[in-house]
Subunit: 230 residues, 2 copies
Amino acid sequence: MRIGELSRETGVAVPTIKFYVREGLLPAGRLTSPNQASYDDGHVRRLRLIRGLIDVGGLSVATVREVLTAVDAPGGSVHKVLGAAHDAITPVPTGRPEGLPEARRTVAELLRRRGWRAEADHPAAEAMAVALAAFQDLGQGAFVEVLDDYAEACERVADADLAYVGRHADVEELVESVVVGTVLGDAVLTALRRLAHVDRSARRYEQHGGGPVAGGGAGAGVTEGGADPS
Amino acid sequence: MRIGELSRETGVAVPTIKFYVREGLLPAGRLTSPNQASYDDGHVRRLRLIRGLIDVGGLSVATVREVLTAVDAPGGSVHKVLGAAHDAITPVPTGRPEGLPEARRTVAELLRRRGWRAEADHPAAEAMAVALAAFQDLGQGAFVEVLDDYAEACERVADADLAYVGRHADVEELVESVVVGTVLGDAVLTALRRLAHVDRSARRYEQHGGGPVAGGGAGAGVTEGGADPS
């Protein structure tokens, strides 16, 4: 197909397609004459992947390039592609909170307690330690007590993710499912966490007959109507 | 305390503190002479909250301002602050995938099936529908089959979050715990999801004695050594 048809098929404007080719995200079309190129279904598929990562995953063009480089690397394993995709989308924390060494110990203990086969110096472990140290700095150190609940929830999610990835028979499909599942899966998970908050908050609210929306315990000091002085 | 002491106490540079005051993130100090201001523990606390949201939460100055406006609004409920904090940090999907109407129905059905008291037109539900439609566009429509696993995991997380928020007796602490827990909680959750992937992937890898890292089923076509032609 010509570039106009590729554009109609994917809903991506021609100048944008040309931009992706120049930026190395999309392979160039096959030249059929000095200034005419031909595109195939592989281009349609890759273009949809690019748009999904940018529009829904919120990735930058540079990050998409990193992810696709990992996808296209010869001999790439699911493990490696999964790692590259997640590294690319995990924001590197810029802060150096005071309690970082202690937070790193907390993460290492959690990994040991759960029996997870993940290194304590993994980038995600470091990102988590920075977040925990920030909780501590903000006087929210007790948050560590909910970590096992979070970990159990993530075991369930990871089991579902791996089972989902494992069902793909086609190699390219499998690799794409890892990338898409990693990037868009985060979007689905945080959206669902928010909806679950709404539900749990509504349940507490109803139970208390117009009282505090959340924090039905000792902390029920903030109400719909105004700050409760108690 | 003077601005120099506030800077030492929080590790935030003096020009940055002045910038936050100009931008309306931090209340100005109390003037003790025409060009001398005094700061208190409230400033230390607020400054730590600002740094946590920016450095670890990855929020922009404009987004931090939105969140703090919700925190400081008189009569703000936990429910409202939670909503404002999450709205501020939820990236608005810019894409309009083709299968959006069907994806919206999938989300509405999920909410009904789980009995969640959340509206199907909630912004988080819309963000989720856009992500699901993108999965569909990318040929990964089967992902909807893992949604109940994700939902169950999020129920567990939300229960832990609400119980954590509810333990704060002090109103300001409670509101801060909602903001911090919403923003940094996402960072912890996605980092833990990644670590759980590493663990689950490693377990499958070990089980297969050097074989495929993940996707031990029909999809085990990508190995450490190179693409498996089977």
